[in-house]
């Protein structure tokens, strides 16, 4: 057991524990706060994987924007939800079995795949991951078209969100 492995295990336990709290806790504000813990753990995983830009974007976009949006939505729709019966629907045990089967199926598929125990090679010397990522995003023979499509999707979604939530009265 080397230090990175122990660090990974701690991060994984934090992610899974807080994700379980997200799906089971009664108070939705607490669920949104646990979601922030999960997202931060995923940002730590990106840092372990040397994806530094994605780790920063995870903190800024997911925690700074999406999680806060969730907290706003919970506050705007909060009224008496806490006292109105169970938070899980009647067939939750069936859903738990379905989820466990999904996990079991994925685990079994991973076991039967040959590349699963691969370890990461070191970066080649002088390799600039962030610079490469930036060039890949705007280069015409790489990913400029998906990037622009994502921008248009974001714009359309924001216009649509304003239109749907707008109070006409």
């Amino acid at each position: 057991m080397i230090a990175t492995q122990i660090f990974f295990l701690i991060t994984g336990l934090v992610i899974l524990g807080s994700a379980l709290m997200v799906v089971t806790t009664r108070n939705l504000i607490h669920a949104a706060l646990w979601l922030i813990v999960t997202l931060f753990g995923v940002a730590v995983l990106y840092a372990i994987l040397n994806a530094s830009f994605l780790a920063v974007v995870q903190v800024v976009v997911y925690i700074g924007a999406i999680a806060i949006l969730f907290i706003f939505a919970v506050m705007l729709t909060h009224k008496e939800m806490r006292d109105r019966g169970p938070q899980l629907n009647n067939g939750w045990w069936l859903n738990a079995i379905i989820s466990l089967l999904t996990f079991g199926g994925l685990f079994w598929m991973l076991q039967s795949w040959s590349g699963v125990s691969k370890t990461a090679a070191d970066f080649p010397s002088g390799f600039d991951a962030v610079g490469q990522l930036g060039r890949a995003l705007i280069s015409p023979d790489a990913f400029v078209l998906p990037f622009e499509v994502a921008s248009v999707l974001l714009l359309a979604a924001l216009v649509g969100a304003v239109y749907i939530a707008f109070n006409r009265k």
Binding site: I15, T38, V42, L49, A51, F70, M81, L88, L100, I164
Partner: protein, 102 residues
Amino acid sequence: MIPLSWFLILSAALFSIGLFGVLSRRNAVAILLGIELMLNAANINLVSFWRYGDVSLMAGQVFAIIVFAVAASEVAVGLALVISVYRRRNTVIADELDLLKW
């Protein structure tokens, strides 16, 4: 070093937890929380396949960024729908939103 399987198993577990949340929660906002967990699990997979494959191919990270954009749009539209429904019908419980049920 950490083997690739650890990341894949962790993301499979996170995906299953998110799936359970989507299927079992009664509150529409909590269902969206479960969807966020599933999208994050997919992102962990994308980034770890980038790191453990050929690092000069940036497709994994670029696709993770596109997943970020999709997640942001999905949350914006989804929460706008929830708030709009709450204004008209005064509930956010998914079982009670049965206007289109025949």
